[in-house]
């Protein structure tokens, strides 16, 4: 068996997959990838099941060394400068790391641009999928790390330098790229509810008409939003009810929190709206500090978008292409030149390092 050694990795990077479903009634949160499309694309590149476990890499740089044989991987999600033993490689392609070689990934470019230029697009999380999947022991059908519940395999915690992922020896299959649709821009679409009647029309309008930023004190449990204070009509305590990925709850201080895959299964703050399924990954990828807006759409529109999104996921295998290696390397080299020294402009220590408020049972 080959091994992929985590030589270097930033905080809040972990093994994630499609999540652990079916036990929310027992308080077990699903966890799973922040950006399901990027996870699926990375897996698709190397012939894995779309929601197989992969490494979710936070905006910081990371490097991985192959041992005891070559390891074939697929890279997708937030673009970064990437090279194997100094040879540039491109995102949204598969690649083989020879025994002893190291794949080195830079800081997520979108995060740098967001922090330095106020760019309105960019992404935070990248996915490294390993051919044949990551070896581990599934709990409720999932290897996804859920630190609070002590779940996840091979490590029930975020990855650290020195960790080893066991993998099948590289198949030697021809490398491929995947053609994804151009990243959608525009506002993050929401469906109002379930507790939008806990807010006045003015508060709802303020929520929908304002520019928001994701606070640096965000994590896989929740993204805190910075913007105007959203007031409640009847106070901020409701009797707990169930939550979903993308529930936008408004606690007593009026600063909304969007619940992410490590959310509690129930919560006691009014939820003004919910991010639609098709936009959840795009929302999860918005770097801290980057401005964005919400837009309310109807249930019928949201469900039509959910169907389109499911269709996009299903179509991924049809989007694989052979690699015209020359063109791609030029592109990767171009990317490598762009980055320069911008990494130092970002204070890495502030990003996703501080947990969201301690919550207590309701």
């Amino acid at each position: 068996m080959s091994r992929l050694i985590v030589a270097r990795i930033g905080p809040a990077s972990s093994v994630q997959d499609g999540g652990r479903h079916g036990a929310q009634r027992y308080g077990l949160t699903p966890s799973g990838a922040m950006d399901r499309l990027a996870l699926a694309a990375a897996n698709c590149l190397i012939g894995n099941a779309l929601f197989a476990a992969a490494v979710e890499i936070s905006p910081f740089g990371a490097s991985f060394t192959a041992r005891d044989g070559a390891v074939r991987v697929g890279l997708a999600g937030a673009p970064r400068n990437a090279d194997i033993a100094g040879r540039p490689v491109a995102f949204e392609t598969s690649m083989t790391i020879a025994d002893g070689e190291t794949l080195t990934l830079g800081f997520a470019k979108g995060v740098i641009e967001g922090a330095t230029k106020g760019a309105t697009k960019g992404a935070a999380f990248s996915y490294l999928a390993i051919e044949g999947g990551i070896a581990g022991e599934a709990v409720f059908g999932s290897l996804a790390v859920n630190t609070r519940a002590g779940l996840g395999s091979p490590y029930p915690r975020p990855l650290q330098a020195g960790d080893e992922l066991h993998a099948k020896p590289a198949s030697g299959a021809a490398e491929r790229r995947i053609e994804l649709p151009a990243a959608a821009g525009g506002p993050i679409r929401v469906v109002l509810g379930p507790q939008d009647d806990e807010f006045s029309d003015e508060s709802k309008a303020l929520f929908l008409d304002s520019e928001w930023k994701i606070s640096a004190t965000s994590d896989r449990m929740g993204y805190r939003l910075e913007g105007p204070v959203i007031k409640h009509l009847h106070g901020h305590n409701i009797v707990s009810d169930g939550t979903v990925d993308g529930s936008i709850q408004v606690p007593g201080n009026g600063a909304p929190i969007v619940l992410m895959p490590d959310r509690g299964t129930s919560g006691g703050y009014p939820k003004i709206a919910t991010v639609i399924t098709a936009d959840f990954g795009r929302f999860a990828q918005i770097p801290a500090g980057t401005g964005f807006r919400f837009k309310a759409i109807s249930m019928a529109e949201a469900q039509a978008e959910a169907k389109k999104f499911a269709e996009l996921l299903r179509s991924l295998p049809d989007r694989l292409r052979g690699i015209e290696s020359f063109d791609l390397n030029i592109e990767a080299l171009h990317g490598a030149n762009v980055a320069g020294s911008a990494v130092s402009a970002v204070d890495a220590g502030t990003w996703h390092a501080i947990p969201v408020d301690v919550t207590t049972p309701d």
């Binding site: 027992y26 308080g27 707990s240 979903v244 049972p361």
Partner: protein
């Protein structure tokens, strides 16, 4: 506003879940309706429904919008909710040992003082209660129990504790609860049970189901320590009286 909504309100939780709301407040009738609808969905599954999560006052129904849409599922859920509530004969009855007070329940004395009685009286009242698992949530195995007698209702602590022990039995507001994992809590800690409501690599991983009945009985600290070790090794300490 009425305490319970019947038929229930159907609230959108995004494009892939419906909150079926029976009440806005903690209400026993509403919770029984929630649990009845949950049972109904288990007995007669609706195509496209992936998961149901009961809470005190609502049932969150997760579904796949490529299989069924909001309007169609809403109709089916309303119809299911209108069927007569099936008998609770199948609900299981558990007895949980609890070491009350001292290091296992650091708030017992303060609770007694606040309620102007003795710690023994608090324990006697707490073990006399017939409780039902109203919901499980927050963290794995955290079981919220309804049926706490009014005398023991207490506002939560103003300053929640960041760390409270695994197995804590506590009271908060109108509820009592069984906390499985160590973690933060703003409730008043009365004691600890060696029973793990959630334990990996044990069959079953989750001991309690929403709707199960639970009573408590007192054990001493030495028994707790012994049973805690046995539970750690995978033994199920709770007594199942009826299934």
């Amino acid at each position: 506003m009425a305490a319970t909504f019947f038929p229930p309100r159907l609230l959108p939780s995004g494009d892939s879940a419906i909150t079926v709301e029976f009440s806005r407040i903690i209400d026993d009738t509403a919770n029984q309706r929630v649990l009845a609808l949950d049972r109904a969905l288990q007995e007669a599954p609706i195509q496209g429904v992936t998961e149901a999560v009961p809470t005190y006052r609502s049932l969150l129904v997760h579904y796949d919008p490529t299989q069924i849409d909001f309007a169609m599922l809403g109709e089916k859920l309303r119809a299911a909710a209108e069927r007569p509530v099936s008998s609770e004969a199948k609900a299981r009855r558990w007895r949980f040992p609890v070491a009350y007070g001292a290091e296992n329940g650091i708030d017992l004395e303060d609770v007694a003082k606040a309620l102007d009685t003795t710690p023994d009286d608090i324990v006697a009242r707490h073990v006399a209660g017939q409780y039902r698992v109203a919901m499980i949530g927050f963290t794995p195995g955290w079981s919220y129990l309804s049926g706490l007698e009014k005398f023991l209702h207490m506002p939560r602590r103003e300053n929640p504790r960041l760390q409270t022990p695994a197995g804590t039995i506590s009271v908060g507001g109108v509820q009592t609860g069984i906390q499985c994992l160590a973690g933060p809590s703003g409730w008043h800690l009365l004691g600890r049970t060696p029973v793990r409501t959630y334990q990996l690599h044990r069959d079953p991983t989750f001991l309690l189901e929403p709707g199960d009945h639970v009573t408590f009985f007192a054990i001493d600290a030495k028994t707790f320590a012994e049973q805690d070790r046995a539970a750690e090794a995978g033994e199920i300490i709770a007594e199942l009286i009826a299934a």
